[in-house]
């Protein structure tokens, strides 16, 4: 097949390929809306995931569709873009080609790579099945399945044998994701589950955070770290800092020689960059992030932009963090910069930016359970908020940044049901009905099947 280029005012239309439909890729695509370019956005999934709310799917407050939307739909009104559900597997930088999993090749004049990051189990890949992390909609429904199933299996075993393993939930990692997951599990157990179970007491569930460093929420200022610690302890969450996990097994976790039982173990500890960074053949850091200059270009490739978690960007002596805000700003920047470069190649200055990228940090927030949060605000004013005001600010900001009116409406009402009405949320268990490690502790199949049940009277709560 031959290359056909489209004429545009006598000049050849430039082709931009964007890899990844997360915050970085989507903002780059939207920024290219009015430029004379043809854009192809490639993602192996059909949907953009609003990751800051993913933990709410994992903990049964929101439905997957509330926070995930088809990339095609988001961009359907943008006529100069096509969306391709495929996966990049390599590059030919000399010929400016992206190699795709299907065997096809995609030609580009400019390339934006925003394929993000995934969990890192620090070389222990076997841990992945035992301690799922939280990056995708599938991850979220898997975590939901495990947490809800633990209560169901405990109720069943209590009813059938008169006892059940302690409902210990272990979250490995004390960053924002770990803190949000732990707070939410604690809430679910104490508030919603307690109503529905007759034989177990879900409020005895114990949530523990294991963090290797001396601090939880390491990127927050010390006063907010202390507030967060206090709010988590008020929820009954146990905090173990300086605790290095040395093994993850079905039903328990090892910290040095100490065994910590866990009916469900979740992973919020390490991330590593998408493997595409290394496939570029340029310098990467130890997590696989691509070292870029002030224009977000890897050395000697002014036509390639790295955005979001995959980019190693230094600013004022610190690395720009791998969260949503900088990814969006990098996507915006890459689009603007491409605008300028096209202008130059057409003999004009173009409309885009000549200056280097600079991250404008508006602050960070993390929720702690259903009525508290910490917020390190930097814009529109500097402040350290915690407790209910921080939580209210969090709600407003996240509703605002969600994409699509329908999703905002749906999330608003789900929060109203859940937080004001104290309704149940989305407590579906789908898929397998096994939990790793559960059988090994209390296998009923070896027992003689001859126990009539003590139904007694239902518990009077």
């Amino acid at each position: 097949m031959t290359v056909v280029a489209t004429a545009l005012g006598g000049k050849v239309r430039k082709r931009v390929v964007i890899l990844g439909g997360g915050f970085g890729g989507l903002h780059a695509a939207m920024g290219l809306r009015k430029l004379p370019v043809d854009v192809t956005l490639v993602d192996r999934r059909n949907h953009h995931t609003f990751q800051p709310l993913l933990y709410q799917v994992a903990l049964a407050v929101l439905s997957p569709a509330d926070i995930a939307q088809p990339i095609r739909s988001i961009l359907s009104h943008q006529k100069n873009i096509e969306v391709l559900m495929d996966e990049a597997t390599g590059f030919d930088l000399k010929q400016r080609l992206v190699l795709l999993k299907t065997g096809a090749r995609l030609e580009y004049d400019y390339l934006v790579i925003a394929t993000g990051s995934t969990h890192s189990y620090f070389g222990n890949d076997g841990w992945a099945k035992l301690a799922p992390g939280l990056k995708t909609v599938e991850d979220a429904t898997e975590i939901r399945r495990r947490v809800l199933l633990a209560f169901e299996l405990a109720e069943r075993q209590m009813l059938e044998t008169g006892s059940h393993p302690a409902l210990n939930f272990v979250v490995i990692g004390g960053g924002p994701t770990g803190v949000e997951l732990a707070g939410a599990i604690s809430d679910i157990a104490k508030l919603y589950m307690a109503r529905d179970f007759r034989h177990i007491d879900p409020s005895t569930a114990q949530v523990m955070i294991l963090e290797g460093s001396p601090y939880i929420l390491g990127s927050y200022p010390p006063d907010l770290q202390a507030k967060a610690r206090g709010q988590l302890e008020a929820l009954g969450v146990k905090l173990r800092t300086g605790a290095h996990v040395t093994d993850v097994q079905p039903g328990y976790v090892m910290v040095g020689d100490e065994r910590i039982d866990a009916v469900v173990t979740l992973w919020a500890a390490g991330v590593q960059a998408s493997p595409l960074g290394k496939l570029l053949g340029v310098e990467t850091d130890k997590r696989g992030c691509v070292m870029v200059d002030e224009y977000l270009n890897p050395p000697e490739h002014p036509e390639i932009f790295i955005c979001g978690d995959l980019a190693h960007v230094m600013q004022d002596g610190k690395q720009v963090p791998g969260v949503a805000q900088p990814a969006m700003q990098m996507g915006d920047y890459a689009a603007a910069r491409i605008g300028r470069l096209i202008g130059l190649s057409h003999g004009s200055e173009g409309t885009g930016r000549n200056k280097g990228f600079r991250y404008f940090d508006k602050g960070d927030m993390a929720t702690i359970g259903r009525k508290a949060a910490v917020a390190n605000l930097r814009w529109p004013f500097k402040a350290h908020w915690s407790g209910f005001p921080a939580w209210a600010a969090w709600l407003v900001v996240h509703i605002f940044f969600l994409i699509g009116f329908q999703n905002r409406f749906s999330v608003f009402w789900s929060w109203a049901w859940t937080y004001v009405g104290e309704q149940d949320g989305v407590r579906l268990i789908t898929g397998s009905q096994e939990l790793p490690g559960w059988e090994t502790k209390d296998d009923l199949s070896g027992n003689p099947p001859s126990r009539p049940l003590d139904l007694g009277s239902p518990k009077s709560n």
Copy 2:
């Protein structure tokens, strides 16, 4: 463990075990609310599924949580019930015990079996993976995945090679489920997909119903069958009646010697009863349904009630159909009948019913795409409706029968977005990104990976 019974006014409280949390089991449980009994409801899933709306999850209009709700939550205000997530695997009718998968046994005084039906592939179990049916939330998300993925793969192949297999969707079975699935696929393709794809023309998608009998909607009167046929043809759905499927293969279906290509094949043809019916050791019909008397009891077991799809009930010379309404009524009846039997055993007449079960048929409805339906009304008046009035009636009835205010609200708004606002719905592809049969037709991996793409200009629709 010993049997402990609870005293109730000097009399021993009776134990009722209900197997299945579908319409039959749930109605039986709710009917036992005020009786002096301890109830255990056993289901292998944690949620009740509102099956009449399941096809809307499959076709991306509703989210799973809109139509599925935890059984515990539904019954949480009923103090005399406990819910057990487990699976019955057999019975000891003499000792009145239900055997559970975990090895435990459940004692009962009265037993309600309402475990419903599942797909029947008429002995060709290999077809199940190639042509999924629609009974569970997992089935629905799998059908959604396949239908949406077919469009994505076609777009990808069009973009990368310049052609794609014809988008033929084959629905095997022309009953209500088959008709509803076919109409909805046709709508999706023509209305929502057309906006979002640049290279393929989704409106060329072809939906075909293959029905073995001479009629679609066999249980409807002939005038409504004809209306349904007309409405389906207006949507562009091809109807092949008298078409016996002899083989299902990846990518195609055989009807006799004729090969019919299919990018997605769906199964809406046969059902068979839950295997628990046969495990009772009483008479069953050829689909495994239990032959019951007018009290819904199998012969010689007045303490056992069979409700819903699992029951073979004859009335006025016809078999009561396996749909939601009779299941609900049978559940109500079983509870009322148990009330009477308890009264008799206590020396009084009780409050329940002495008469046999009688199905009160209010009529049937099936939707055909997004603005039409057929309705065979029998109550509150007899009428044959079709087109928009039937569709409007369908909406009202289904919102009314949904369980839970939150779900009604959510479904109402989803319909408003989808049908009035013509918004997109829930178009998530989760899980695998393979489609059976797709590779066999157009495997790209054998081609030299050297084709720069013809991006051209995006299609100007």
